[in-house]
């Protein structure tokens, strides 16, 4: 069979038509979902901190999702029954703002969720969480990882740089990030906390952890430590800034005294030494 150029072009256009309508999600969209969404949501793997997104297309239309992704808090606050249920299911936890989101990207994310929902098993069906029982050794390893006494294999910084828990010794941990004493309960337990740690989505942590992800056993140890801390029941980490400030002031005072001693023979003026010298003579 011989085709004319027009016929060939027509055939190509027919072939390309349906393909472009179901354009596969771009690598960039998949990566965005991995970095920002999968630590709280699965697609077909059940609820984590946020709801399972499988079948989102049947629950919400594109317009709602695009609005929601660009400003979750205002949609949740200004919404009706559905939005209130979302908040209630998440124990009142708001979805954080997504870095670098705009309408176009939100729309692509909606397409990705629809495409993954249609699959029998989505690549975002959830991280494989080991369900082995956590031991005392895990708690101890988790504590060491939290403090930085044992370094994370991929070079991620120790939790104490920015976080504290009630059970830490001395001046405790950093305060740039939230106190994690109650994090185990806040993130609804082992499964969700594991998913969260597998790709920390907060704006501060994401750039730091994007290339330095935690390994499965490290995550389990941290979960064990945070569970241990949450079970301590002491959710009030004592404020430790006062002893820190007092120590700083005392050290500065001691240094001033040292300066005075070290430079005791310093030049203090012309007149007084002359007068003193005169008296002595």
């Amino acid at each position: 069979m011989h085709l004319t150029t027009t016929q060939a072009l027509l055939a190509l256009a027919l072939l390309a038509g349906p393909l472009s309508a179901q354009e596969p999600p771009s690598e960039e969209t998949i990566e965005f979902f991995s970095l920002n969404c999968k630590s709280c949501h699965t697609i077909g793997g059940g609820r984590l901190t946020g709801p399972d997104l499988k079948g989102l297309g049947e629950r919400r239309d594109r317009d709602w999702v695009v609005r929601f992704l660009q400003d979750p808090a205002s949609v949740l606050n200004g919404g009706g029954e559905y939005e209130q249920k979302l908040l209630a299911d998440a124990n009142g936890t708001y979805m954080p703002d997504l870095p670098g989101i705009d309408a176009a990207r939100a729309s692509k994310l909606y397409d990705l969720i629809l495409a993954e929902s249609a699959l029998e098993k989505s690549q975002f069906a959830g991280v494989q969480v080991s369900d082995r029982p956590l031991t005392e050794a895990d708690v101890e390893r988790g504590r060491r990882l939290f403090l930085g006494a044992e370094r994370f294999k991929n070079g991620a910084p120790a939790c104490i740089s920015c976080h504290t828990t009630a059970g830490l010794p001395g001046l405790g941990g950093g305060v740039l990030g939230p106190d994690l004493t109650a994090a185990y309960g806040r993130l609804e337990g082992r499964t969700a906390l594991t998913a969260w740690l597998s790709a920390p989505p907060s704006a501060t942590m994401q750039p730091v952890f994007a290339k330095r992800s935690l390994e499965g056993e490290e995550i389990l140890a941290l979960v064990a430590w945070l569970q241990h801390e949450a079970e301590g029941g002491d959710f009030e980490s004592s404020p430790r800034s006062l002893p820190f400030v007092l120590a700083g002031i005392a050290a500065a005072g001691a240094l001033l005294v040292l300066f005075d001693i070290f430079w005791r023979g310093r030049f203090r003026g012309v007149r007084r030494p002359l007068v003193h010298g005169g008296n002595e003579a």
Binding site: A158, S161, L171, T204, A252
Partner: protein, 232 residues
């Protein structure tokens, strides 16, 4: 979106503008006005108060700046050191102490400049501006140390990679975007100071006679007859 634009402006553009001004003006001023490279010290006008200003300020700021530099060049050293809570506490308390020394020294210097009429007469508008910027810089630094500890660790994890990205000419402002306003203010003011540096007496930092510290001692001999000079 707007805040992303601002972040890019402050943490992706301002540093380059400041550094460009720093290098160009520093070099051209050295070539054209060599003898203005001085701290214009007022020590000879009054030395009693000056000791309690100049000494704590200089030792304080030198140590604090050295700490920032080590955090930038060798972030992994800092993280290794901070791996034991006792060492972390030691580093943070030392940093705070030298920060307090810097602020105490700075305040003594400023009060002396204002109260001592002879010293005030030789003080320019640019000097007052430098003081204002320095007070803002040191006090935001202290506020960060107290309210957002432990900065030595998170400087190594969040700020060092951003500084290196500036050096690689592809600024990754996402490291800075989510940080608290206090930290952003400290960083912006630091680059304003760097840009303002070459127009001020701060240039003396570049011409400190460091070799004095390690050169051999010199014996000075007069090779003329001082008696005759006096009588002539």
């Amino acid at each position: 979106m707007n805040s992303i634009m601002n972040d890019y402006l402050f943490f992706g553009v301002l540093p380059y503008v400041s550094l460009a001004i720093f290098f160009l003006v520093t070099i051209s001023r050295y070539r054209q006005q060599t003898f203005t490279y001085s701290s214009l010290s007022s020590q000879f006008l009054e030395n009693k108060q000056h000791f309690w200003g100049s000494v704590p300020f200089h030792y304080g700021i030198l140590i604090v700046l050295a700490g920032h530099l080590i955090g930038f060049l060798f972030p992994s050293w800092i993280l290794s050191w901070n791996a034991a809570p006792v060492r972390l506490a030691f580093l943070e308390i030392s940093g705070l102490a030298f920060g307090i020394l810097t602020l105490v020294g700075l305040l003594v210097i400023v009060v002396r400049r204002w109260m001592n009429i002879k010293v005030r007469r030789v003080t320019t508008i640019s000097d007052w501006l430098v003081y204002a910027l320095l007070i803002l810089q040191v006090s935001t630094g202290l506020a960060i140390a107290v309210h957002l500890g432990w900065g030595s660790s998170w400087f190594a994890t969040s700020l060092a990679p951003w500084l290196w990205s500036l050096l690689h000419l592809s600024p990754e402002v996402s490291f800075i975007g989510p940080l608290p306003l206090l930290v952003k203010l400290h960083i912006i003011n630091a680059f304003v100071l760097i840009g303002f540096f070459p127009f001020t007496r701060l240039v003396h930092v570049l011409v400190v006679p460091n070799p004095y510290l390690w050169r051999k001692t010199q014996v000075v001999r007069w090779n003329w007859d001082r008696e005759r000079l006096r009588q002539s």
